[in-house]
Amino acid sequence: MPFYEGFVYFARGLYWWLYETYCQTDTTASDYGKCYQRVISEAIGVPLFTYTGTTAPSCVNDNTCIGIQNPPWDYPVTLKDNTSIGKQLILYKTWMILNSNGGLVVDKTKCGRATVKTNAMEENLWFPFMFKTANYVSGSGPNAYNPLDNSICGLNVFYTPPVGSQIVAEWNGATLAMKIIVDINMRNQPNIYYALYAAAYYAQESSPYAIIPLDYNNDYVPYRELRNAFGYSYNGVDQPGWNAQDMISALKDIFPDRSWAVFDDNNQILYLYNLTPDYVPDWLIEKLSPTAMKVLQPPADATVAKAWLDLLNERNAQIPPQAELP
């Protein structure tokens, strides 16, 4: 079982610590207070930078701060698409500012809130990352100016008067998790200004998969049996187990007359049962990139193999694409 790790992050809005962002901090410049996003995307929301003054950024004065129209409810961020249930560690942190002239997102005491959830927790956890500071900048961390009520938001999970440096972001962890969902929860309200940063580190052991779509209602008993033998996912594509040969043995016993496949992640071999490569869709090959395919048993009945392919394509089409940030 190959073991690997990775780090991902994404950011939207303006961030003073990202090199892609440039904010004009020269008070004599005509565009003082303006920030420019060079690479990631267009500037969204209020400029964020280490704010030390009391004057509103120029985008507030000339009404050029960019608001988001038609924001979605949330932004799910899937790190690894359900490929390693039970073998994954995720550490993550989020950082954001948001506001709404509808008054639904903030409650006048906080600058912003984020909902972060994982499949392991299955609940919404509210992290009020940014508390409003009175009239000063908190600590040495990033701060944001909120033009909607002319206040400053300091990234400080537990608001205390600053004494020296403070930890301004927390790392949270989720073991046995498949993914995290960073839910900005904009409630579809327009004119929300925001900036968001989310980072995640993950360590993961890969898994062999059984590839056999089942229907919970029509195949209840085998569904349960398969679920007890190894993980079962709704899409039928990424049902992880521990040992490919054990999975093949179990599947031969449970489903001797159906078509199925097992991907051995260790040797990168895709085993085909009642199948030939003709029935394996290209998208599955692209997804798994197997070094080899081995035919355990060719299909005695082509309709069985065709049924597997049709159902697999159908389930795959239902996998929602990863949402993209504006």
Binding site: P277, D282, A292, M293
Partner: protein, 54 residues
């Protein structure tokens, strides 16, 4: 010893298998997505499609 005579129409290719190069008789080719696989009968007796080195 004289080299083995290759049957007419049989193509032999070297594939990277188990950390070493192995020469196999190709019984066909299949293209899937970006990958091209060559077909042969592996040591375990199974019809096998191995990613082509070409």
């Amino acid at each position: 010893m004289a080299p083995p005579i290759q049957p007419p129409g049989k193509k032999r290719v070297k594939i990277r298998k188990g950390g070493r190069w192995v020469e196999v008789d190709v019984g066909g080719e299949v293209k899937k997505g970006r990958f091209k696989y060559v077909k042969f009968v592996d040591d375990d007796g199974l019809d096998t499609y191995w990613v082509s080195p070409e």
